[in-house]
């Protein structure tokens, strides 16, 4: 895409100035506080905080639950994207619009309603209770609500790629003797892998930071159902800023790594694009 010479179009300095000022004041400066604060801590302090049993349990739960939820999102999202792009059926458009509901619905509402649905006497919890599964106030509940909040990511990254796949690839595979399954396995799946991984990574990143929905359904028991953000908030409420910051920096660093991975994945997707 052509980019105009900066001499011809007006407003370069103004628009870039606003952008950089706003970005710095609202995002970069505040975030830098976390690193400045963390830099002021001794190594021992950091290790004690970040590597305490309780913190390790919280990280383990956060990563584990987020990972499982993102995996589920990848599977369900793939199914939804495939059905929405490939199969016409009544209500398809309606279903398509509903996919974005988890983006639009406040996370607190999601947490509230999921905790009620999967409670012992809830609409869905009543079926899980007899078979010995505890839906709400358990690790399963955390995974369930994270699946909800991450649902649109895989669908929305996969959908455009699936729509733009040239019919000729499948026709070529067919005329070369491939069965429908072979065509899917060898021709379609490799093309869909980069966007699938991108969607997975986005859902994973979102789940790692999720707070609002989880606190309703998790029960927030230390060592058992306490996710890392809850732990951070807990420390903050005790005015233990240093410890909260150390924990936050770990989460932040992981976010940065994931952001880098997502960027790489998106570049990889685009290299297949044309």
């Amino acid at each position: 895409m052509a980019v105009a010479s900066r001499r011809v179009l007006p407003g370069f300095s103004l628009s870039l100035g606003i952008t950089l000022a706003y970005l710095s004041l609202l995002v970069l400066l505040p975030l830098s506080a976390a690193f400045i604060k963390a830099a002021g801590l001794s190594g021992q302090q950091i290790v004690d905080t970040v590597w305490s049993d309780r913190a390790r349990a919280a990280y383990w739960l956060t990563f584990g639950a987020s990972f499982i939820a993102a995996l589920a999102n990848a599977a369900i999202g793939f199914l939804l994207a495939w059905v929405l792009v490939r199969y016409p059926f009544p209500g398809r458009k309606f279903l398509d619009s509903l996919i974005d509901l988890p983006f639009a619905l406040p996370t607190a509402v999601a947490g509230l309603v999921y905790s009620s649905l999967y409670a012992k006497n809830g609409w869905l919890g009543q079926f899980l209770e007899p078979i010995g599964i505890q839906g709400a106030f358990s690790r399963l509940g955390i995974v369930l609500v994270l699946i909800f909040t991450g649902l649109p990511f895989v669908v929305r990254t996969l959908q455009p790629v699936l729509e733009n796949l040239d019919a000729e690839f499948e026709e070529a595979a067919g005329s070369l003797g491939a069965s429908r399954w072979q065509t899917f396995r060898y021709v379609l799946l490799p093309c869909l892998t980069p966007p699938l991984l991108t969607g997975f990574a986005l859902a994973f990143a979102r789940a790692l930071g999720e707070y609002g929905s989880v606190i309703f359904i998790a029960g927030n028991m230390p060592y058992r159902t306490e996710i890392a953000p809850v732990l951070i908030v807990g420390r903050l409420e005790e005015f233990a800023y240093a410890e909260a910051t150390a924990l936050a920096v770990v989460l932040l660093l992981f976010s940065f790594v994931l952001l880098g991975v997502i960027n790489l994945l998106q570049r990889w997707s685009q290299s297949y694009g044309n």
Binding site: G174, S175, L176, Q182, Y186, V187, P190, C191
Partner: protein, 356 residues
């Protein structure tokens, strides 16, 4: 393996893509389906490959009815217009794909792929991805891939459409030789009459879902079956004329209407009819003679093997195009704005146009 298409009809909604088409392509020949876009040639090719289902009619090769057979069981190699190479696979994997899914051993796949790449002159490019190949190379990878499983019939959809002029010319020559080498019945689709004539030994001209004419390039060029074919094969001058005791007489140029036409009549009868004359079948004279038309020279283009002269009929004010040999042009010493006389050497007319 001869290919027989019988009475195939295909509709897309209210649009009839093929309207009762029957073709027979003899074993080992190279046949071109020629026609303008919308004529149904690509649809016919896709029906042959099993990529579309005909609404009625049948497709068979060597007496085996294939109409109900799946694309993948047809033993036909199909080369797509834009090649449809699998982007994530190397050249090797693309060509080996049909063998891999047929469960060939690694060693056998390797041998066959090397053999094919040698055949299409792409030795040493096995590890490349399609994105890193030139258009001509991609075309040949697609060809090798289509041939890998030893198809009985090779189908090519606009094989040179996506290439630039120079590469196209090279590949045409190459394809002719290549076809001799592999001796597989080949059917290609093209909208370029020059390409069809240069490559194919059988040409099928299509129009609006029907076959207009089929035969060898020479037959078609020398004896076009209709005004449409005549017009499609190159520029043609249309004159208003009449039959006078069986011999055509020009009354003046009319503008290129190529109404539906069937076949040339034997020279007999009388009446008015459009008369068709190719630019190289017209001569220019300094003096009026029997049957000639007075015309004013508009423009002369001497750049080329033939000199093209654009004239305007003095009586009807319609354009006429004449192609003269360089010798004849030198002899005449023509200048723009001169009035000269145009005399046809050969005239064609078609019965459907003919009315008493």
């Amino acid at each position: 393996m001869s290919v027989v298409v019988e009475n195939v009809v295909k509709r897309f909604g209210s649009f009839t893509a093929l309207d009762g088409v029957s073709v027979t392509v003899p074993t080992g020949s190279l046949c071109a389906l020629l026609g303008p876009s919308g004529s149904g040639k690509t649809t016919l090719l896709r029906i042959l490959a099993g990529l579309e289902h005909p609404d009625s009619g049948s497709v068979s090769t060597h007496g085996n009815d294939l109409t109900k057979t799946n694309a993948r069981d047809r033993d036909m190699g199909f080369v797509f217009q834009h090649y449809a190479l699998f982007r994530h696979m190397t050249v090797f994997d693309n060509v080996g794909f049909p063998l891999k899914i047929r469960g060939w051993s690694k060693a056998k796949i390797n041998d066959r792929v090397q053999e094919l790449l040698h055949l299409v002159r792409l030795d040493g490019l096995e590890r490349r991805l399609p994105a890193n190949l030139s258009g001509g190379q991609r075309q040949r990878v697609a060809l090798a891939r289509a041939l890998a499983a030893e198809p009985k019939v090779l189908l090519l959809d606009e094989p040179f459409g996506a290439l630039d002029a120079k590469v196209r010319q090279e590949l045409r020559t190459w394809l002719r030789r290549f076809h001799k080498e592999i001796a597989v019945t080949t059917i290609l689709v093209t909208h370029d009459q020059e390409e069809a004539f240069e490559v194919a030994d059988e040409v099928v001209v299509m129009r609006q879902g029907r076959i207009e004419q089929s035969g060898s390039p020479q037959q078609i060029f020398d004896h076009p079956a209709s005004a449409f074919v005549m017009d499609f094969l190159g520029h043609v001058n249309v004159f208003h004329g009449r039959l006078d005791h069986g011999s055509p007489r020009l009354h003046g140029a009319t503008h290129g209407s190529t109404a539906a036409a069937e076949r040339p009549v034997s020279v007999a009868g009388e009446g008015t009819t459009p008369l068709y004359v190719r630019p190289h079948e017209l001569d220019i004279e300094r003096h009026s003679s029997d049957g000639s038309l007075a015309a004013r020279i508009l423009h002369i283009n001497p750049a080329g093997p033939l000199v093209r002269v654009q004239l305007i009929d003095e009586r009807t004010a319609k354009p006429i195009m004449v192609e003269l040999s360089r010798e004849r042009f030198a002899e005449l010493v023509l200048l723009p704005e001169e009035t000269v006389f145009v005399q046809p050497r050969q005239v064609r007319y078609f019965t459907a146009d003919y009315s008493i």
